[in-house]
């Protein structure tokens, strides 16, 4: 067994990842000692340019006070030595972002089988079927195993990427840059990653997605300003937001089908006029 294989095994059995604070953009100390464990879903929120990507990049390269933030990342409670750090990097973290596409022109099943081969999975055919079934459960519209990867819709592509990452990627940590709110069941996608014992970090501006996390990290001016546990009240808020969202999604389908929107549910006008007052929003009070 090569040192790389050992590192892969070690990475796959990761028990915890700890992020220790560095400095913000002004040089002020960042108070942070956050430990993530398999099955955790943590959202990362903050304005554009606040340092969300830096935080994810620090995790990805297992920063040891040698990135602009000065943060340190501990693996299973200890800093990895240089050799192990670089042998582990690249295998520790799987990444998914809206900018990613499938570029290989192969049928879905053939490509997933190729990925399974790389992982030397024993029961390849079953795993391929599982990945495709999981992706179809996440995607709004079903797709067939024989369709070409490049012909999948945006939602189907994202669903397949998440299912494949959950079931076939060796990486114990998954970094996701936003999951668009169309053509994919986001709650189910995160549940799938949790069921595979991944540590999942999601960078997002979307309130529903943010509330789907167990915790969320608030980034401002290059450092972590707060770590919020998602409360029972917030989970309840999410349920309301999801209902509003479902209506908007239904409207979207309707517009897609060439429909007109001349009549809205009565509750909508009540809601709209309530929102149109000069009263501050309840969450600003």
């Amino acid at each position: 067994m090569t040192p790389e294989d050992t590192a892969t095994l070690a990475a796959a059995k990761l028990a915890s990842l700890t992020i220790l604070g560095g400095r913000d953009k002004g040089g002020a100390l960042e108070t942070l000692d956050l430990t993530l464990r398999p099955g955790d879903v943590v959202c990362v929120v903050g304005p554009t340019g606040s340092g969300k990507s830096r935080l994810l990049a620090d995790i990805e390269c297992l920063a040891q006070a040698d990135t602009p933030s000065g943060r340190r990342i501990l693996v299973d409670g200890a800093p990895p030595d240089a050799r192990r750090r670089w042998a582990t990097v690249g295998k520790l973290v799987a990444q998914l972002s809206q900018n990613m596409n499938f570029v290989v022109d192969l049928p879905v099943a053939e490509f997933v089988a190729m990925h399974a081969d790389c992982r030397m999975v024993a029961d390849g055919d079953r795993v391929v079927a599982d990945v495709i079934a999981c992706a179809n459960a996440l995607a709004g519209e079903r797709f067939h195993a024989d369709v070409s990867l490049t012909q999948l819709s945006g939602g189907q592509t994202r669903a397949l990427m998440i299912a494949d990452t959950a079931l076939l990627s060796a990486s114990p940590v998954v970094l996701i840059d936003e999951i668009e709110n169309a053509g994919i069941d986001r709650k189910r996608a995160l549940d799938l990653l949790v069921s595979q014992d991944k540590i999942t970090l999601v960078s997002t501006h979307d309130p529903i997605l943010a509330l789907l996390g167990h915790r969320r990290i608030v980034v401002a001016n290059g450092s972590v300003a707060d770590v919020i546990e998602t409360s029972a009240e917030e989970t309840e808020s999410r349920a309301h937001l999801e209902r509003i969202d479902a209506v908007l999604m239904a409207l979207r389908q309707h517009v897609r089908g060439g429909g007109r929107i001349e009549a809205l549910p009565a509750a909508f006008s009540t809601f709209a006029s309530a929102m149109a007052t000069d009263e501050p929003f309840p969450w600003t009070r």
């Binding site: 990444q95 190729m114 990925h115 790389c118």
Partner: protein, 232 residues
Amino acid sequence: MRVITVAGPPSVGKTAVVLKTAAHLAAAGLRVGVVKFDSLSTQDDAAYARAGLDVSVGLAGNVCPDHFFVSNIDDCLTWARARGHDTLVAESAGLCNRCAPHIKGALAICVVDTLSGIHTPRKIGPMLKLADVVVITKGDIVSQAEREVFAFNVRKANPRAVVVAFNGITGQGAGELAFHMAQAAGFETLEGQHLRYPMPSAVCPYCVGETAIGEDHQRGNVRKMAFAGDGS
């Protein structure tokens, strides 16, 4: 003088990789000089100069770029020493897949990009197979699954290389590559050192300027194709 060869197919992002990594090396106190080899023209020297890196350009012109490289690499070392550098990065573009500029004992880096297709690692010859470090770029725009398959195919083509995932825009991976580059072996001179892979023995009239097509002009080292079916 640390000597590092960086090679790869055109447009994979070799210059971006060297630029981002050189920043880390400079921060660690290394004095990096870059020689950019290309075939016909390059604008990359301007990019290096903008980044404050000392750069010299070698254009092969009508000479085979691999031959041009090997005839000049020791002079590059002399240049770098005269300029007060302790690390020489020789970036070669315009090489064909048949050859490699890699030198025995000197850190050899091959840069490939995931967009080039998952079978590409198999198609690139000694440039990749004999490298110490294979840098994979443009992973940020393809799926995680394709990245993993691509990296797997790189390992199959070259099991002993260290594989580094690199984002040429954000510089992700530069810290790791800098770690490997800082450990590159040093040389007083490259005189007497050897390439890791021999140059092609093909010398034919086309090497020296022939342009006419036809049997009469095919002399010297000629190989004819075998065609599928009855097409011959």
